[in-house]
């Protein structure tokens, strides 16, 4: 491979020595408190005399609620109220935490007269103790009229299926294709060039396969929890484990027919989210109850309820057709997706769009690309946002298809990426037409470290020694077969022209600062990142910043934690705010010391005369803070900056898996895993590594064993960790993370994002490694021992 070091890699190498705090490891600022058990999560924090709210969830996949008899519940000691559809407002909304106007259908009510999946809300019980609330839910007597259900998305869209949303008032707030009479939530059709009219040569390679992925759950350690109370001004205060406080505020306002000024949303620490908390799961009901009964209210889901009633990943069918020349140049690519969005459609359009835009933009120069996607309603659990957001499912098919082409041509799959992958400075054609739920937004890729990622990752796993070598019978004896596979992936950094974040910084008398940001730290460490960025600009340690985040009354706006936006979008707002603060400090210091501003510089928590070491020619931040708050030119030194970026530079990753397949049992073991990641400049490298490792292990679980099982009536059969397994310590393979920094010119100190891109690699890399080990292709994830064994048997029968 010729030297893959691009301009952006060289730019990082030039810049890094000038960085004092950025690109150095820092402890997360809340880590000690969390390791020492300081109460910090929604269920831990005190509430004044709360009522406990429990929800009755539907046992039926599709039914009308004919009657709810609350009397047996109200007869239980401690039960105070029962809430049904007769009590709540009837303004339809989306539960999806998206920008406004939402690219999501308004198809939900707080409580409806109909249930649309096993796990849909039926009614709620309030009680003085959680035990009484639970007993109250059990005691409710509900009469249902069962309706015909549909679980298969192809059947749902066929025109012969029951209509799941037949209500007259469900609608889309934006002008997109939406036809609930056909169970159609979203439809996207984009074409570049002419796939059908393509000139084919006889020696072209054609690959056409159907890839399917199923239902998976975020499995955040903390189940969803929300609390609400009425404050001394009669306003509703909601405290919940939400990734999207401002969207929750707006959605609750809509659901309760109130103005947003009546509502405050506070996010405390969250026990993981991964997209599952980018949704209004509990807050509307909690807020309604608090307002109606003037009591504080707490509700927490059980794990069973999280599995069945919260949100899941969109199951996806990917019919992928790729035509390549016999030299491995991709001529044409057609991706047809069918997404099962379950009973409500909040993220159907945007996940579908993202699946296309984040895969097809890996290439430039493919003259014919077609992307068709549909998202459909079924009477199954509701799909929502989940780390990867469509890209993880679509990359399964893409990564395997490229490996098939390489195998047919007897070339290294790395060559396919080298020949066809987007290069630094290019702008993928597909992005002009395919945005995230809306119109396209052309993006020039100014930092592409992918090829250096490939080079370093391949070296680390000894790719060239192992790939295709295990096929030799001498090397791969016995029933344990080893193989290696790889895949290249990208994601985004925020939604361009839409995601906005803002940061406020104000000076205190001791030279410390309050840094207020709306950005939502869900364990990702964004609070710490903001402090590090501001520290770099102001040349003062990150500990100088007291970070308060995610309170809609106190901190400035932020869309919240999704689309990998926080570091790139809010981080840049933070950098700009710090620059403004620097200017103000210099101006005030100039006034105090009687210099002109251009004679001064910011250095080591002081403003001083440039190049001077004389203590008389400087003032500390504390000096400035004390004098401006108390004695001279009194005013609060405070700045705010906002950022909304017109671009979304992708992070890249090249990932390599070494597996061992037991051909007697079908069991797949990951022996070694390498993830090389270009996230731009890692602001806090140890955090970026942690995100990579966590994302890879989650995706390994989704590749090898995580899936929902349903009975014939649409009920989930395995809503617990005993039968829905996630990787534990003994399942964790050796993982090597290689950060390959680039300098992204549009990012704060060159940063992009990291948290989502890393999950897109394991499924295709592992599938390709399994093929390398024992010659079977897998088209359905997860690659359970049963599926692997069946494929092995099928291959043996053919042979």
């Amino acid at each position: 491979m010729k030297d893959p070091k691009t301009k952006s890699i060289n730019n990082f190498d030039r810049q890094k020595s000038s960085l004092k705090y950025v690109n150095k490891n820092h402890d997360k600022m809340d880590a000690y408190a969390l390791a020492c058990g300081v109460p910090a999560y929604t269920e831990d924090l005190p509430l004044e005399n709360p009522l406990y709210l429990k929800i009755l969830f539907s046992p039926h996949a599709h039914a009308e609620i004919i009657n709810i008899n609350s009397a047996p519940a109200l007869a239980i000691e401690g039960v105070s109220h029962v809430i049904t559809h007769k009590d709540v407002p009837h303004t339809r909304f989306t539960t999806a935490g998206q920008g406004f106007p939402e690219p999501s259908p308004y198809d939900a009510l707080i409580l409806d007269t109909k249930v649309r999946f096993c796990g849909d809300r039926v009614a709620a019980v309030l009680a003085e103790t959680p035990e009484a609330a639970k007993a109250g839910v059990k005691a409710l007597e509900v009469t249902y009229k069962l309706l015909e259900s549909v679980f298969d998305p192809e059947q749902a869209i066929s025109g012969f299926a029951p209509v799941i949303h037949d209500e007259k008032d469900c609608k889309y707030p934006i002008d997109v294709t939406y036809d609930p009479s056909k169970n159609l939530v979203a439809e996207i059709n984009v074409e570049i060039g002419d796939f059908e009219g393509l000139n084919k040569n006889s020696d072209d390679i054609t690959v056409l396969n159907r890839f399917t992925t199923g239902y998976t759950s975020h499995c955040a350690r903390e189940p969803h929890a929300a609390s609400a109370w009425i404050d001394h001004q009669g306003r509703i205060v909601i405290r919940s484990c939400t990734q999207v406080p401002w969207h929750i505020r707006r959605l609750v306002a809509r659901a309760l027919n109130l103005s947003v000024s009546r509502i405050r949303v506070i996010k405390p620490r969250i026990g993981g989210g991964f997209g599952g908390k980018q949704e209004m799961i509990l807050e509307d009901l909690c807020a309604y109850a608090a307002l109606k009964y003037n009591r504080s209210v707490l509700t927490v889901l059980t794990r069973d309820e999280v599995f069945r009633s919260a949100r899941v990943r969109h199951p996806m069918i990917n019919d992928l057709h790729i035509i390549s020349t016999n030299k491995g140049i991709i001529k044409a690519l057609k991706m047809d997706l069918l997404l099962n969005t379950g009973a409500y459609g909040g993220h159907g359009l945007t996940v579908a769009s993202n699946a296309g835009s984040k895969t097809l933009s890996l290439f430039s120069g493919v003259p014919d690309m077609t992307f068709n996607a549909r998202a459909v309603y079924t009477n199954l659990p509701v799909a929502g946002a989940f780390r990867g957001y469509g890209a993880i499912q679509a990359y399964f098919g893409l990564g395997v298809s490229l490996d098939i082409i390489a195998d047919k041509l007897n070339i290294d799959p790395i060559e396919i990426y080298l020949k066809n992958g987007v290069k630094e400075g290019e702008s993928p054609e597909i992005l002009k037409s395919l945005g995230e739920g809306g119109e396209g937004c052309p993006i020039q890729y100014n930092s592409v470290g992918l090829y250096e990622c490939i080079k370093q990752g391949a070296a680390e796993i000894n790719w060239y020694k192992h790939h295709r070598m295990y096929r030799s019978p001498e090397l791969n004896k016995g029933s344990l077969k080893r193989g290696v596979g790889m895949a290249c992936i990208l994601q985004g950094s925020g939604v361009p022209d839409i995601d906005m974040g803002a940061v406020t910084i104000k000076l205190n008398e001791d030279g410390s600062f309050n840094l207020l940001c709306g950005a939502t730290d869900l364990g990702t460490g964004s609070d710490t990142l903001m402090a590090v960025i501001a520290a770099e600009i102001l040349d003062t340690p990150p500990e100088s910043f007291v970070v308060t985040s995610s309170d809609t009354d106190v901190t400035p706006f932020d869309v919240g934690a999704y689309a990998s936006s926080t570091t790139f979008v809010t981080g840049e707002a933070c950098r700009q705010a710090a620059l403004k603060m620097k200017t103000k400090l210099i101006n005030e210091a100039a006034r105090i010391m009687n210099y002109s501003a251009d004679e001064l510089e910011c250095s080591n928590s002081c403003i001083k005369k440039i190049d001077s070491i004389n203590e008389n020619e400087r003032v500390t931040f504390a000096d400035i803070g004390t004098s401006t708050l108390y004695s001279s030119n009194q005013h609060q030194i405070s700045v705010t900056a906002s950022n909304c970026s017109p671009t979304s530079p992708p992070p890249f990753s090249a990932q390599f898996a070494e597996v061992e397949v037991d051909i007697e049992t079908g069991r797949v073991r990951i022996v070694n895993y390498v993830a090389a990641v270009d996230c731009g400049t890692p602001i806090n490298p140890i955090q970026a590594e942690g995100q990579t490792e966590g994302g890879v292990v989650t995706a390994i679980g989704q590749a090898l064993y995580e899936e929902y099982h349903f009975d014939s009536k649409g009920r989930m059969l395995n809503p617990n960790f005993e039968h829905y397994k996630t990787p534990g310590p003994k399942d964790t393979p050796r993982i090597k993370t290689i950060l390959v920094p680039t300098w992204e010119p549009d990012g704060p100190f060159g940063a992009k994002s990291v948290s989502e891109v890393v999950v897109n690699g394991p499924m295709p890399a592992i599938a390709n490694a399994i093929y390398d080990a024992c010659g079977i292709r897998l088209y359905e994830a997860p690659f359970t021992p049963e599926r692997v064994f069946k494929a092995l048997k099928s291959k043996m029968n053919i042979e």
């Binding site: 490891n25 402890d27 997360k28 809340d30 880590a31 000690y32 408190a33 969390l34 390791a35 020492c36 058990g37 300081v38 109460p39 910090a40 999560y41 269920e43 831990d44 975020h218 499995c219 955040a220 350690r221 903390e222 189940p223 620490r269 969250i270 026990g271 993981g272 991964f274 927490v300 059980t302 794990r303 869900l522 364990g523 990702t524 460490g525 140890i686 955090q687 590594e689 942690g690 490792e693 966590g694 994302g695 890879v696 292990v697 989650t698 617990n720 960790f721 005993e722 996630t726 990787p727 534990g728 310590p729 003994k730 964790t732 993982i735 993370t737």
Partner: protein
Amino acid sequence: MKIDVKINGVQKNIEVKPEETLMRMLRRIGLKSVKCGCDEGNCGVCSVIVDNKIINTCMVPAAHVNGSEIITVEGLGTPSNPHPIQRAFVEAGAVQCGFCTPAFVLSTFALLKKYPDPTLEQIKQGLDGVICRCTGHIKIFDAVTLAARLMKEITCERS
């Protein structure tokens, strides 16, 4: 019914209900580090040390710990005076959302009592009762190794 139990070195006499789990009881008396992740004994975030063994408190009736000694992370250290294991978790980057961190810290405490210098296999085995979804466990393993070193340094300093 009332039970006598020593919690973090302090002898207590606590009223408990027959159906109350140890997890709920500990949270009720203010030890919020004990988390509820599944309430079915499958995720380990409710883990606590009882009589030197790490157990899932959601699976144990509170009444059963009459006469026992319990350690939670609140008893190990505070942010201003952390235990070496807590310090190791922070410095190794092993704390992301933190929901499982108390359980892993206590699992490490139990493991290092048995194996003061554990191999990676012993670490994986010793910690296997708790599952993390944020970190992928890699930095947790690093934290245990660092904790072992820090604890050894303290023992050497003392002797």
